[in-house]
Symmetry: D2
Subunit: 341 residues, 4 copies
């Protein structure tokens, strides 16, 4: 018995959702909803009995739909999601969960009240690389995390109403939220941005986040660079991991190298490990297929999904703090407590 789902939004990300829910065994893709009927029709193609809906209200009143997947602009997420939850539908939302923390918090509360699943589509967290990174940290293979450096640069699809932080950093932040024990909970964040084309918003920038114990996380996002780089280095007290997402033949490399410093000792007590590297074999599976499967499993098993609304909230919290830091000339901004929710 498969669950009925509708995809709302047939723009940039919607077709990917359509393709994956369509080929999923757990799901029956019942309808695609978009104000632009022709766009929706193009996505489902000919010789298909998937239905087109141009009215959200009509869509949500259907009985054959258990859940909706929302892939509309971020500023519309909360309105659509709240309506869906109120109609008794489970909801998965494209990142970011909303464009304001307060709206997202309402979504989380509503889902809790209605006892429905609210999932953030943090797609990267379902790649085999990120899953493995999470395991390597949880299993102590890397030791304590000393630093995380994440670079995500490529010629960007400049978007009208968001800057580069809101467009790209949700990827890095959601990954950190997934792999760091306890989730992404930096004490503060500083954002340095640049607008060299004079457009009124940052086209490239850097986030610095001190972590407990002297560790640090740093994110470089960039819409202007002609080459794609998607690389993350996670330095640990025991081993260091390099993730190069654009090298499909060797995405992860774990280096048994590092610097050992004996506490309470002089400089001479520094020693170096120069051991081997190993690159774990990773299964190739489309991450969105795992998103679809996890969404179905969370509903069936009546449990929160791996990337639930709270993870979406933590990411939003950092994004909002980053915007405040940017407005304050790059000063560190404390993060507001997430405990309110």
């Amino acid at each position: 018995m498969s669950l009925g789902i509708a995809v709302v939004g047939a723009g940039y990300w919607g077709p990917n959702l359509v393709r994956n829910f369509r080929s999923s065994d757990e799901w029956d893709l019942v309808a695609v909803c978009d104000l632009d009927e022709a766009r929706a029709r193009k996505v489902i193609g000919s010789r298909s009995s998937i239905e087109i809906e141009t009215s959200l209200e009509r869509l949500l009143s259907r009985d054959d739909i258990d859940a909706v997947a929302i892939a509309t602009p971020a500023r519309t997420h909360s309105t659509i999601a709240l309506a869906a939850l109120d109609a008794g539908k489970h909801v998965v939302v494209e990142k970011p969960l909303a464009d304001r923390h307060a709206d997202a918090a309402r979504m989380v509360e509503r889902a809790k009240e209605r006892e429905l699943v609210l999932m953030t589509d943090h797609t990267y967290c379902y790649t085999s690389a990120v899953v493995r990174i999470g395991e390597l940290i949880a299993d102590g293979v890397l030791g304590d995390v000393l630093f995380i450096d994440s670079v995500r640069i490529n010629l960007g699809l400049v978007q009208p109403d968001v800057d580069v932080f809101w467009d790209l950093a949700p990827h890095d932040l959601s990954i950190l939220d997934h792999v760091l024990p306890g989730g992404l909970r930096p004490q503060s964040v500083a954002a340095h941005g640049a607008d060299p084309l004079g457009t009124g918003k940052a086209y490239l920038g850097y986030l610095t986040m001190p972590l407990p114990g002297g560790a640090i996380a740093h994110v470089h996002v960039n819409w202007l660079s002609p080459t794609k780089i998607r690389q993350m280095v996670i330095g640990g007290s025991r081993r260091t991991l390099v993730w190069d997402d654009l090298n499909p033949q060797q995405r992860l490399a774990v280096y048994d190298r590092g610097v050992d410093v004996e506490a309470d000792r002089v400089a001479a007590a520094i020693s170096y490990r120069l051991g081997d590297m190993y690159a774990p074999a990773l299964p190739e599976r489309e991450a969105l297929a795992s998103v679809a499967a996890e969404f179905a499993a969370a509903i069936t098993e009546k449990r929160p999904p791996r990337t639930d609304g709270h993870s979406g909230l933590r990411v939003l919290d950092v994004l909002e703090a980053s915007s405040r830091s940017l407005a304050a000339g790059g000063a560190f901004v404390e993060l507001e407590s997430l405990e309110r929710v």
Copy 2:
């Protein structure tokens, strides 16, 4: 007619200077000076008539020495250099020029008074890659510089009395000083460092430097990462350059790609260029050999060398401001004017 030179300091960098001055046509390596005679002897090897001096005073009193190359710890640079200048010797100093801006300024003044050449050994500026980058910017191939992102990470030789900024960033800063039109003159600098091993100093960190016109330069230095990365991206309004110093078969790549934004227009006026890349052929020559040649040419032609004392001063200025920013919790620190010198 070759010039006589002595190398002072037979430690880490001294042997490289010895090797290059020894094989230079313009120079006659007369002596190596070190307090540790055995170490000096090991550097010059057997069957050699290069002399060993253990007294700086005796060395500087020799008539067959026109110049000295200083490769001692940074805190000793100014004392040795001032003595050499006072003895009428031209001086080239390993980076950084001194460990304090004020000392370096004295060196620059003294050299000016004595009409002697004072050169900073910014070795990277003599690689064929950096020379070519300087030409590409000067010739307008890249257009206006929009951003510079420099990464220099590898398992570091942790040094007892300096942090990672003072150890590694002089390379990046001297390169920026060489390739930016007008030299390295950021308005301010913010430094974020991390000391995850609890040693009392930064083992990795980031420098952010706003440049005129909304551009930005950013430097990542790191002693903890197991893989070597030495990469710089220079984004320009016309083309973008990627320098990967560890890829000898393709060190420089110039991409005819970018984002064009028409001023005073709406978002729809953004367009993308997705053109070809070209990788210029670069001659292979050891950079230090060019340092030796430039030092001789500056003396002979009675002109400042390409990396003179002022470039050393500009680099020191940023390093000192970085230390102040670090002490101030990462706040932006204005740079003091270099015009005093």
Copy 3:
């Protein structure tokens, strides 16, 4: 007005054909035909009105089908294709065109008699990389072709009834057929294979093909190597091209380097060019989508497709000669004339 097509064979390659014909504007995917109805149904998915046929006879008798795409085992190609041509359907066949040259020749003749399009699905020839290589050679950018070295190695899906040459070399040979002026017409071929696992057939091997004018083409195919390599070097008298198909960020590199030898002169007349490299920007499009478009265009414009039956025949000719060389212990085997057809 779109053309009706059916895909025959829902095994390994069939689903790719289904996906591309389904999303093509020129085509209407009417039916999928397979003896295994469940397998066919899985390929088209639910909520689809694409029809399933388990009888080839019934399929070919339909009026709403203009063409068939055949993705069955090679030994069945000619029987199915001849039946389809006799039923008045245009035909595109997965490589190799057939498992015997004589059968393929019959297919070519029958298509000619019936004035129907017969196309070989040499998918690689529709990648933007191969299209550009063909242009670079045709436009004289590379000069005369001096040598071609092609390597195609990766852990293979060992197939029960073919050796590594018949499985992998059709890719290389069809690419050579496309990019070489006049098509692939080697004078002879030598095949060296190895069967180190003792299975009774070659798991890796090498083809050597002397080309007119002293040039040479060489192909390395390998089922046993754990890393994927798909690389081709085409050395020309003016420039040399390197195609690394697994480097999506720089698939093609054209080097302005080479050796110039002045004829009728002594050895001293050799000179070297060490110029720049450039990497052309390539559009990203799925090659099979272009196969579908070219098949439709050939039918509509009543012309042969770019990879017609004759190109399939030339590839088969080399494969059969390779098998004869292998049986003869690696001796060079002359190619039989293709002119018979």
Copy 4:
């Protein structure tokens, strides 16, 4: 107590020998011998008491020389080496040992009669990569060797009197001789060459060598390609090794992947291993320094060096057979027994 050595030949390779014997603790570089006195003087530089000799006879009559290192053209090796051996000097010879097998055999015999060390300077065999490869095979980590594929291509220094096989293949063959258990003893060899510039000799070519048990070794040497490739894949029954000598950060990679075939079973009994990869850490040391050390150790310990005259002979045997195969149009040529020596 160090041994006295002289380097004979100050051309292409001589300066490398001079540099390494000069800085070796085991050796005292007494003299450099070349007919061209100025060239020899340039190699040793100024302020050196290393002596210049222009007469081989005078050099060999000196008492302070225990050994000579020969880096002259290959056709002069045997004459010089025999004279040195007759004068009681130990001898190390640049590859190839001689230009004819018969001459090299005389050298081996003479050294044996005089009880002197004769070493072939197979430099690659002293790199940490090749040493490790030898250990991995000897320790059974790779299992049985199934295939070896070696590629050595780059824009060559075309030499007047040898073809590409004699210039480049000695590297590959000497490596195979070192890593294969029992040394390089192929049953036969086929050579395919191409002369696309019409110079009268091969500029690129391929060697195929069947090995016992159905295994195969294949070597691609090429003077015409603009990019450097130095790569060797060694497929084993347990693991497969990839050596990329131009990737200093990851020269060796050992893949726990492969194809397992159960003997006497049907095709369905094929299974695949898709395990991790590991890249062993390798010490960085100049290989020629190890050549110098091994030469000294062999003399002191009165034992054959790791790359003795016999290894030089085995390499020559294959080179001569390759030339015969080339002359015979690429037919397999049996190797003459090495047991005669």
